[in-house]
């Protein structure tokens, strides 16, 4: 079977959807020459009206997309840098997201926001290394963080076809991930439905995006100690609570690894759901960035702030050992 990389899978999803639906168009910075490689080949194939290279005006072009969506198009915006989402938080959270309710259901805003290279890119320091998916979940914007090439393809397709705003985080740590894929099996992946990435019986590890690979590696490493289930929710919001509940019903132990800051992050939400609904034999644990973290530049410091495999191993052993 051919190998498909995560980034190429997203590129393929964009090309397929541009070809399938004339209402779809892309906009963003440097997308004509495909600086991030997300839009490689698409300008040549679809032309300047479908692949709209924009000036550095994130706030205006994010609202521009909302206006185009209100008029009947289905825009997809590429943001080169995850922290730009802070700049356009008003345009997504306070504008695009609110139109449906505020208008009493008169309109829809089917805009997709794609961030290829979210989280730490190693060496890009404080203002280029954020991973703010928890923020969008908190305000109720549909948010996905795919972990595999097939899911990147399928979730991006579903995001574009969804009638509401959807943010798609493609973690920098996952972009180069490749897997054998039968292209004929590539298909939309529904929003809000998680998957068991590895079945196990002793503990459920919840992981998103690039951290799924870390969780799987740790599960292999600890195979002699425990049978670890890795649950990949794929969608941060709406969270697949039923899928998670089914996994935890089998394992009754829970660890979540999350590339958010600790307070009010995705990991905190998973633990809150667990406290409300799950019958655990030991208290759950979370592995996250520290509270209020700003990613420092120096490599060792960058790594120290991100949730890593060693922290995950310690957390898993913690829930296994506690009585």
């Amino acid at each position: 079977m051919p190998k498909l990389s995560y980034l190429k899978a997203m590129n393929r999803a964009l090309g397929d959807e541009l070809a399938a639906d004339d209402r779809v168009f892309l906009l963003g910075e440097d997308i004509r020459v495909a600086a991030s490689n997300l839009t490689a080949g698409l300008f040549t194939r679809f032309g300047p009206d479908r692949v709209l290279d924009t000036p550095l005006s994130e706030q205006a072009f994010t609202n521009f997309a909302t206006g185009a969506a209100l008029a009947g198009l289905r825009p997809v915006i590429e943001f080169q840098i995850p922290s730009l989402l802070f700049l356009v938080f008003e345009q997504i959270a306070n504008q695009a997201h609110k139109f449906s309710l505020m208008s009493g259901g008169q309109c829809k805003v089917p805009v997709t926001y794609v961030v290829p290279g979210s989280g730490s890119r190693t060496g890009w320091a404080g203002q280029h290394s954020d991973h703010p998916y928890s923020l969008f979940a908190q305000v109720g914007v549909k948010t996905v963080v795919p972990s595999t090439p097939a899911d990147a393809y399928g979730l991006l397709l579903s995001a574009i076809r969804d009638d509401d705003p959807v943010v798609v985080f493609a973690p920098a740590g996952a972009l180069g991930f490749r897997e054998d894929v039968d292209f004929s099996t590539l298909a939309p992946v529904p929003l809000g439905v998680g998957r068991v990435a590895r079945a196990g019986t002793d503990v459920t590890v919840v992981a998103l995006g690039h951290l799924v690979q870390d969780a799987l590696a740790v599960a292999d490493e600890l195979a002699g100690e425990a049978s670890i289930e890795v649950f990949d929710p794929r969608t941060v919001y709406p969270l697949d609570v039923e899928g998670l509940a089914a996994s935890v019903a089998r394992t009754r132990r829970l660890v979540v690894i999350d590339d958010s800051n600790r307070t009010s992050g995705f990991g905190a939400e998973v633990l809150a759901v667990a406290a409300e609904r799950f019958d655990l034999v030991t208290p759950p644990r979370r592995v996250t960035r520290p509270d209020g973290a700003v990613l420092p530049f120096a490599l060792a410091l960058d790594r120290a702030v991100q949730p890593g495999r060693d922290d995950l191993v310690a957390a898993i052993r913690g829930v296994l050992e506690e009585k």
Binding site: N63, A71, Q95, S100, L101, S103, Q106, V109, L191
Partner: protein, 316 residues
Amino acid sequence: MTTVDLYRTVRLIRRFEERAIEFVRSGEIVGGIHPYIGQEAIAAGVCAALRADDLITSTHRGHGHVLAKGVNPARMFAELMGRESGLNKGRGGSMHAADFGLGILGANAIVGAAGSIATGAAWAQRRLGRSSVAVTFFGDGAVNEGMLLEAFNLAALWRVPVLFVCENNGYATTMPVDSAVAGSITGRAKAFGIPAFTIDGQDPEKVLAATTAAVDRARSGKGPTFLECTTYRFDAHHTFEHRVRLSYRSDEEVSAGWSRDPVEIQGARLAREDRAAVDAEVEALLDAAASIALGSAHPDPIAALEYLYASPEVFR
């Protein structure tokens, strides 16, 4: 659009707003409103130059715009009162009134935000092969919002069929325009190569003439135009000022503003009996509208988050 039609619109807006203020006082409208009184000629003149399929975006001071674009006053009163029969089913209120069937993409409560939304909508209309244009209304305060200046750039670059209509009423809430705007308002648009004109925003006929020229230009593919309409807000920034008096302008200044009342300017162009007939027609329309709105059902709290998402997934 005739002289009588323009008069009917300014009169309708004026009396709608006066009645809305009464409903604020009586408690039928909660949260208050930003009255449009004094600025009616702009909404009336601009919307008179538009087709039914043209689009507008409005502001926090937006009742005039949506009435001039043709909304049913009963549904507008009902929206202000938070009723199920309101334009937005009571989910939007004064600052978010929208009627997509009439091309009203909504009033927007964030100053300067709608300019880029209107630009995107107008661009999309053209891409979809439609000949409609979009108008975005905003105040003098919005010209200091960077996002709006970014929209000027996009609209000019891509020759988007959009009109930027600035209602310069002299104050951003309480901040006088002279204390807030370095350079000039039209200078901002001109810097992007957008033709920009300052017109008398108290005279509906002048606003109509300037808008007609700008709409023709946009429809013929020549891109955006900027109109600075000089005007004056006769009433409060917001009805809370009726209770809490803020001192930022003198009684003399307000009286001087009233000396150029758009309703009187347009009314003087009608024969006395014709004007009286329009006035009676407007009162009858608003009597009926208010009565319908007051008789409308309140939304059921169980449906508080209905319409939160456009797609059908169920959220917990």
